[in-house]
């Protein structure tokens, strides 16, 4: 293995370059990704109203501690995930970038709310039209502001993404050659339910996943279902 191919800007740490490929590598990858998923410490970047919902998500009722994320780090050097919550003004953009640069690798960015994601309704000269203009964004979360469940949904989708991240350039190439569908957009309440997940994937293959989510949401609203397959309710 040649050192010239190593991408030091990626999320690799170096050790994976010395490991044998194949069976061991994928298992180490699973283990490393699992540890990264299970203690994803967020950096606080609350800028506006979304920050209130972010605080609510961290508090007792929604309790991010269930996912090992209760410690919102005030120092970016101890954080893995930057949750940009709120509208980013042009003046704030360099600050945001600096905070991001101070975070150690591997790091992820979650654009919370429409303002952080795209500028939202503030299409004007003062507001950055999406934080992806200054930092790479891993998860976009719509909503104005998103309710705590929406933030948890976005975080869990990000967890799912991290679990499938390649470890090192060799593995990245392997995955790029044989791309696997990981269904990032699957709603978390469906992903955490085996029967519902099966139904959703079937629906997604039929190109009606959003209709399925809608039907399931309606079943939840009617009180017919909290978990399990939608098929049972329909009968």
């Amino acid at each position: 293995m040649s050192g010239a191919e190593v991408d030091w800007n990626g999320t690799d740490m170096g050790i994976e370059e010395k490991l044998p490929s194949g069976f061991l590598l994928t298992n180490v990858e699973k283990l490393v990704n699992w540890t990264r998923t299970a203690s994803l410490w967020p950096a606080t970047f609350g800028l506006a109203c979304c920050a209130i919902e972010m605080m609510a998500t961290g508090a007792g009722r929604y309790d991010l501690a269930r996912f090992g994320m209760e410690v919102f780090r005030a120092s970016p050097r101890q954080a893995d995930l930057m949750i940009v919550a709120g509208r980013v003004s042009q003046k704030m953009a360099p600050v945001l970038r600096q905070i991001y640069d101070q975070m150690p690798e591997p790091k992820w960015v979650l654009a919370m709310g429409v303002c952080a994601s795209s500028g939202g309704m503030f299409n004007n000269y003062a507001i950055l039209q999406g934080v992806d203009h200054v930092v790479p964004v891993d998860m976009y979360l719509p909503g104005c502001p998103p309710r705590p469940e929406m933030l948890m949904d976005a975080i869990l989708k990000l967890h799912h993404k991290i679990k499938h991240e390649p470890l090192g350039p060799k593995r990245a190439k392997q995955l790029a050659d044989n791309p696997q569908e990981i269904w990032t957009e699957m709603p978390s309440s469906i992903r955490y339910d085996k029967a519902a997940r099966k139904e959703w994937i079937q629906a997604a293959e039929d190109n009606r996943s959003s209709q399925y989510s809608l039907e399931r949401t309606q079943a939840v609203q009617r009180g017919d279902l909290q978990h399990g397959a939608l098929e049972k309710v329909k009968k």
Binding site: V114, S118, G120, M139, Y212, L214, T217, H227
Partner: protein, 211 residues
């Protein structure tokens, strides 16, 4: 709590006491709680009871949108390809969920109650492109008795049969003829209960509600 000992022990007493209190934490991904029925979730484009689209492509929602999140292009219905009763239908309909602030002004603006909001909120995704929802994603699911457009009008020969309340199943030749003699007052749109943001339609089986 009355004083039971030195101050540090009292502190532990609070912790100990809390161990027997009911937990208020919601276990979200495993148990999804119902939202309030009028919660502003993502939009739905409703259908008439025979499956034809309610959207007439008037773009009033796009005009009402404060965030410019909606893009509509109308198209003409033809006898070969009919998507909605009447002349026009929404040929292209997109909502950019990275702009939408879920205010519901579009729902207020919609003259045919085509656009309503559901209670579905799990929308996050990892790229901008997929968060621009197209018409195929926004259309309500087909209920029993509905048929995917394009197809001819099943509930009568005239668009009035759709907009003036009629029983969709008891379709007889006499009833169809009667439809053309509806007094003009009955054709007036939007009765009082339809004004305002209304997510109730999302809570009921979609398209079943008749105006």
């Amino acid at each position: 709590m009355p004083s039971l000992g030195p101050k540090p022990l009292q502190g532990f007493g609070v912790t100990f006491g809390n161990m027997f209190k009911k937990v208020t934490t919601e276990s979200y991904p495993e148990d999804k709680k119902a939202t309030k029925p009028r919660y502003h979730g993502r939009h739905v484009l409703n259908r008439h009871p025979d499956g034809l689209e309610k959207c007439v492509g008037c773009e009033l929602c796009a005009w009402a949108c404060p965030a410019d999140a909606i893009y509509v292009e109308g198209g003409d219905n033809t006898e070969e390809a009919r998507f909605s009763p009447g002349e026009r239908y929404g040929a292209i309909y997109q909502i950019n969920y990275l702009r939408c602030i879920f205010c519901g002004l579009c729902v207020e603006a919609c003259p045919t109650r085509s656009l309503t909001m559901s209670n579905d909120y799990e929308l996050a995704d990892d790229n901008r492109q997929d968060l621009i929802f197209t018409k195929e994603q926004l259309m309500a699911p087909l209920l029993p008795g509905m048929e995917q457009p394009p197809h001819p009008m099943r509930l009568g020969d005239h668009e009035q049969d759709y907009y003036v309340g009629r029983e969709p199943i008891k379709q007889t030749a006499g009833a169809a003829a009667e439809a053309h003699s509806v007094p003009p007052a009955a054709t007036a749109p939007a009765s009082g209960d339809d004004i305002g943001v209304d997510a109730d339609e999302g809570a009921k089986p979609l398209g079943e509600t008749r105006r």
